[in-house]
């Protein structure tokens, strides 16, 4: 039971991450490889605040979100002037820089030794210390992320995002400041990813840079694509599926060295198969191609 709850908590954490990337990649057409970097910023900011100055959980979480938003502006103002593939490469570069900081700024992050002993969250008087309680908290945050994205996409703001995804020139010709929309949505996406990171740090109670590598970003991209970019249930389906898949493989009884490699092969094959036969994802409406 504990084990099942653990998988569900991870599913909910990844749902937040996937929803955050889908807002950017699926809804606005900006594919970013830096989602794990913002996830890491949220995790490290709250882990450091909570362990070093004993800040409460919510303060750590909000600080993580704030730092992620600030850094998103630093990244997005130069890179959002770039188009399509160049934007992807710029976010890739940023992801590498952030990983390098997590890994090498020993004085702050303790580098590869990681930050242990992150306490369980206390929200007002509620001490979140069982798997079930964590699941409740994770689901609340996932619902919050969903709510934010739904409010955005169903508003005139979302209409403009959709226009930017489909035809940015058309949006500009109609007087839309497309740069402003893209910078804003990049910040919201970073904020939600940081929220997921904060939750993850408090759940696992230990973080190190290996959780925030470019592979993690690619995993989240896979979740978005396999679930279905730009759709309501796509992020949830993609996140839950790719979190449970490795666990399911565990029961097949392969040696762990084989299973780990097999997992990568299955992810890769799934992506190729999706791109060939169902580019809009399992439950999605739109593909990445125009």
């Amino acid at each position: 039971m504990e084990y099942l709850l653990h998988i569900l908590v991870l599913g909910a954490v990844y749902t937040v991450l996937t929803v955050s990337l889908d807002l950017l990649a699926g809804r606005t057409g900006l594919l970013s490889i830096a989602q794990a970097a913002f996830y890491g910023i949220g995790a490290y900011t709250s882990a450091l605040l909570v362990t070093q100055v004993e800040a409460p959980f919510l303060v750590g979480l909000l600080a993580g979100v704030a730092v992620a938003v600030l850094i998103s502006f630093i990244v997005s103002l130069p890179s959002l002037r770039l188009h399509d593939d160049y934007f992807v490469i710029a976010t890739f570069g940023f992801q590498m820089i952030l990983f390098s900081i997590f890994n090498n700024w020993i004085g702050l992050t303790r580098g590869p030794m990681g930050i242990p002993g992150i306490p369980q969250p206390v929200i007002l008087r509620w001490r979140v210390d069982t798997h079930l309680e964590f699941l409740v908290l994770a689901i609340v945050l996932a619902c919050f992320a969903y709510l934010v994205v739904w409010r955005i996409t169903s508003s005139p703001f979302g209409r403009a995002l959709h226009a930017i995804r489909e035809d940015e020139v058309f949006a500009k010709a109609l007087g839309k400041n497309t740069l402003r929309f893209k910078v804003t949505v990049f910040a919201v996406s970073a904020a939600l990813a940081a929220m997921a990171g904060s939750l993850y740090a408090h759940y696992i109670t230990y973080i190190d840079p290996t959780s925030f590598t470019v592979m993690e970003s690619i995993l989240v991209i896979s979740m978005v694509i396999i679930g279905g970019a730009g759709s309501l249930w796509g992020p949830l389906v993609g996140a839950v599926l790719l979190v449970t898949l490795p666990e399911a493989l565990r029961f097949v009884g392969l040696p762990s060295a084989v299973a780990a490699n097999l997992r990568q092969i299955i992810y890769g094959s799934l992506l190729v198969i999706m791109m060939m036969f169902r580019p809009r994802g399992l439950v999605g409406k739109y593909g990445f191609s125009k």
Binding site: P156, K172, N177, T178, V188
Partner: protein, 254 residues
């Protein structure tokens, strides 16, 4: 600024080179505050390039663009659009998967619901949407597409899509409309309909600038014809005068 107080769109010394060839070569132009102006010329004469420079989508190598006293030369396209200068494109740009009405709604200027916090908390957004929907419906009716409002833009015929782009320009509150080939490739019956609309828009005090290959349509509707060739303006005047000149006929056909 002119005697009627309406700022005019004008440009001076515009140059633009692509790979060594002059797409625009010292183009100087002052457009009237209202009326229908047609820009004609052979392919590659620089007509669309001129439109792109005037609307900020291309940056000129030299020269300046003004609206009245306001310089537009290095202004971003969305800012120029907000000054009431709306345009269409040859390759009809629309959001094809969404209904025609959504395209027109998108065009509405100054939407509060396009700000993040207002979008999240919905202060006054539903009321604003109601007003914008009415306005969108008004312009869809004007171009005769009211019954197609809920159909995906991609499902409309080519001519209807051109009308939809016009409705978008009007919903964006364009006072100066720069239309790239509004009747080329459109069914003849619909051409007459579009020309009537353009006349009506002129009579409401708008300036309609069309880049057009259909000389018959230009002859019917234009107050002023501007002929371009090899990046220069080679003639300008009333259609009855300009379109009869032998060298113009030659330049155009040749």
């Amino acid at each position: 600024m002119t005697s009627d107080g309406i700022p005019r769109l004008r440009c001076e010394g515009l140059r633009k080179c692509f790979d060594g060839t002059h797409a625009l070569h010292d183009v100087r132009l002052e457009l009237p505050s209202a009326g229908i102006v047609a820009i004609i010329g052979p392919n590659g004469a620089g007509k669309t390039t001129l439109l792109n420079v005037l609307t900020g989508f291309l940056r000129a190598d030299a020269g300046q663009v003004f609206l009245g006293d306001l310089e537009l030369t290095r202004m971003a396209p969305h800012k120029i659009s907000r000054l009431g200068i709306a345009r269409t494109f040859q390759d009809l740009r629309l959001i094809l998967q969404v209904p025609a009405r959504e395209n027109v709604l998108l065009a509405r200027p100054n939407q509060k619901g396009e700000r993040l916090l207002t979008a999240l908390f919905r202060f006054g957004v539903p009321q604003e949407e109601v007003r914008n929907r009415e306005e969108a419906t008004r312009w869809l009716r004007f171009v005769g597409l009211e019954e197609k409002a809920n159909e995906a833009a991609g499902e409309l015929s080519y001519g209807q899509q051109k009308l939809l782009t016009l409705a978008c320009c009007l919903a964006a509150e364009g006072r100066i409309l720069l239309l790239d080939e509004p009747v080329t490739g459109v069914h003849p019956e619909m051409i007459a309909q579009i020309l009537d609309m353009l006349r009506l828009l002129r009579d409401q005090g708008r300036l309609v600038v069309l880049v057009e290959h259909d000389i018959a349509a230009v002859r019917q509707v234009a107050d002023v014809v501007i002929v371009m060739d090899e990046g220069r303006i080679i003639a300008q005047g009333k259609p009855s005068e300009v379109l009869e000149r032998p060298e113009i006929i030659e330049a155009y056909v040749g």
